[in-house]
Symmetry: none
Subunit: 449 residues, 2 copies
């Protein structure tokens, strides 16, 4: 049979399923992560992953899953269960479902034997199992382990499907998949690929974003090629994932850029990134561009805000110091917050947040100061100021109180901390974006006049 010939007569592969075999991935502590890598590689060549599954080491369970998958997708990737021991059942399960006999390949036996020999060992007899190949299948070399992969085609002519078996360890699986994609899979796809864009939004609920974008969804779906959208509520933000199957990157970019413009025209400044960048990365870029520095005085966030800011490589350009002030004494000693203000308004109040922001800005000698004070819980809440109440203030050049707001976050302690840090960064981001916009408009006005 001639592989080149097959390419011509076979329908392109479009939909894949990934099955991970291994009982350890059905425990509370381990899950399948190979599928993320596999999905990325398949998406690059235009194959969409339609579903994923994890099954244990019982041959019946593996057979059921393989049987069902082969009915609904063109490409089935099975990972794991190719080792030499009794609980490695993948080869047997697939061979039975496809109705093929397993035959020992003497060449593979020799390769495995040589591999053991190089390390000064005799090959244990059980490793012969790894040399079993279903009739009609092709072994795939594994440069980093003893278990070869297997490539099996199933069905005839236009309905021909591919079943691919790969070992579970990532360092074995990854180079093998790369090779297979280049040498075998890429030639079996339509040429079109899946391209994505992730848009991050703050300050709106999922249903508000959804309602606002409903007319755009309809337009996108009616487009040729259609753009699909998925909306996700994450902690402190809403994510909108756009994807399109396009013949090349340039056309994908054009289509996705147009969809992003649609989103921007409806959601505006609530969009903080159009390519999946995190809040700390977006804010960091804005600060760096404008040559501005920032310092935080954190109470309830306990350092999380500054830790997130400094998760970004190169953040020392705009973060130089910060203070964490849990007690009233620390607020007064390190930031000069007047005890009278704390007495009058309470430690969790807008005037205290403002005094903290002004204090850290001045003492750190930077452009912007942030003050955060709140009740992260689970104790400390009152009727007037329940757990989740957080006051955030931003002081700007000259010590001006630029913004201050009291938030009411829900969730546990860690979630309240995260949302408060997110809201504080968003406050700075909006201020900088506005300044940039204003500066841009002034520039435009000057140019026009």
């Amino acid at each position: 049979m001639d592989a080149t010939h097959l390419v011509d007569i076979t329908a392109p592969l479009q939909r894949a399923e990934i099955i991970a075999v291994g009982s350890e991935m059905l425990t509370p502590v381990k899950t399948d992560t190979n599928s993320l890598f596999i999905t990325g590689v398949l998406n690059e060549i235009g194959i969409e992953v339609a579903s994923k599954a994890v099954v244990g080491d019982r041959i019946d369970d593996v057979m059921v899953e393989v049987q069902q998958a082969i009915e609904r997708v063109d490409l089935l990737v099975v990972t794991g269960g190719l080792g030499p021991t009794d609980d490695d059942v993948t080869r047997d399960a697939v061979a039975r479902v496809l109705g093929r006999q397993l035959v020992e390949d003497p060449e593979i036996v020799e390769r495995i034997r040589a591999r053991f020999k190089r390390r000064g060992f005799e090959m244990p007899e059980i490793n012969r199992r790894q040399a079993m190949v279903p009739v009609g299948g092709t072994a795939i070399d594994n440069p980093n382990g003893s278990a070869p992969g297997l490539w099996i085609e199933h069905g005839h002519a236009e309905a021909r499907k591919v079943v691919l078996l790969l070992p579970g360890p990532p360092r074995e699986l990854q180079p093998m998949l790369r090779t297979i994609v280049a040498e075998r899979l890429a030639g079996r796809t339509s040429g079109a690929r899946l391209y994505r864009r992730a848009i991050n939004i703050t300050g709106r609920s999922e249903s508000h974003v959804d309602e606002a974008l409903a007319p755009a969804y309809a337009r996108w779906l009616a487009g040729q090629p259609p753009v699909s959208a998925t909306i996700l509520a994450a902690l402190g933000q809403i994510e909108l994932h756009l994807s399109v199957i396009a013949p090349n990157e340039a056309s994908a970019r054009e289509i996705l850029d147009r969809a992003v413009a649609d989103v921007m025209s409806v959601i505006g400044a609530d969009v903080y990134s159009v390519d999946g960048e995190s809040m700390e990365v977006v804010l960091g870029s804005l600060l760096k561009q404008a040559h501005l520095r920032i310092a935080a005085a954190e109470s309830c966030t306990g350092g999380l805000l500054t830790s997130r800011l400094t998760d970004v490589p190169g953040s020392s350009a705009y973060v130089e110091r910060a203070v964490i002030v849990y007690s009233n004494e620390a607020k007064t000693e390190l930031l000069g917050v007047p005890p009278a203000v704390i007495d009058e308004h309470g430690a969790v109040s807008e005037p205290v947040a403002q005094a903290m922001a002004r204090g850290i800005r001045e003492r750190a000698g930077v452009d912007f100061g942030i003050g955060i004070t709140g009740i992260a819980g689970p104790d400390g809440g009152t009727e007037a100021k329940p757990v989740g109440t957080v006051a955030i203030a931003l002081a700007g050049p000259g010590g001006d109180d630029l913004r201050v707001r009291t938030f009411h976050f829900v969730g546990g302690r860690a979630m309240i901390k995260f949302q408060a840090a997110q809201a504080a960064m968003d406050m700075v981001r909006r201020t900088l974006a506005q300044r940039q916009h204003t500066a841009g408009s002034a520039e435009a006005a000057r140019t026009a006049s």
Copy 2:
């Protein structure tokens, strides 16, 4: 129908499948993680997870998966796809497979409306979809979101199966599942349960722990009932998970306590918790018990150490303030680190870490001071001090330099930060544990004499 009666005539639930619905989990960037929590909770009541699946937001795909699952397991847990929008298809898919009509529940509509009102919003009309309940199903209250869960029984008498629909966000799903397990699921199982113990270990590699425990493994497996052990390398620690299937908690506790004692006798002080508690919780308890307070001066960790310390409820008892000092000026101004020490040894050095530790201890007026200075990367490394080099010092009562050490961590920026924070807490933990031990021995000596 009487729920109590059903319990009597129905076979115990033993095998579950978890289906996660959501196209975003079929991308290269996101996967289902709810299944880990769900597996843990189900295992606790003796239900095994036989397989897991992820499907996209296409109703046909969800229907196929639900149909297949319901044929092979007793309990089907479907997560996600219960939102108000068009791509939330779970309710419809399950209702179709089970042949039930969906009917709007006016009480749920009112609950959702009230929830929006509390936040000052009108309920968008699309949220009515979340009030649709399949005939014969029961809505499950969601204290943290608008989407109620659904409990549906399917089939008759001994073959009765349970289909459980839960919203995707973990903070909504987790409390709902806990409630359902207590109120409905626990009464439907055989009574034997899986009990686990997670032991956290620092300062040893996975293979060292594995070798040291090999004799114990064999003993545990030969026991009646046998104890299984899984060893996992996590960031900054090794986790050893022990599990046993036992008829009741008392006997499980006895068996697991014995296994934990085996581990302690081999691994000793490198074990920092025997019930899965995090380092910050363990350290917090030690500090609270001893009425000691701590303050950190953080450079490369950027606030992560103090943020983790303050993730623990009640941490204000032992954390009062901290400083984040990225620049040399900040180290000198806020901590009194002599510029000459920085010049002579470099900012990333043990003498500077020690000066930081002493400085924060004294200025904060607390018992222990921690100084952390290092290179989190990706830039800033040199041949002598590559990325990942972190000096950590601990100053104790009287300003004594108690410990200082230079670590060489691997991984990206966030991983280096995490490991440095972990190592700093472990340094304090070991010091406190030793003091406790010494105090205990002195006490014992006094009592004996």
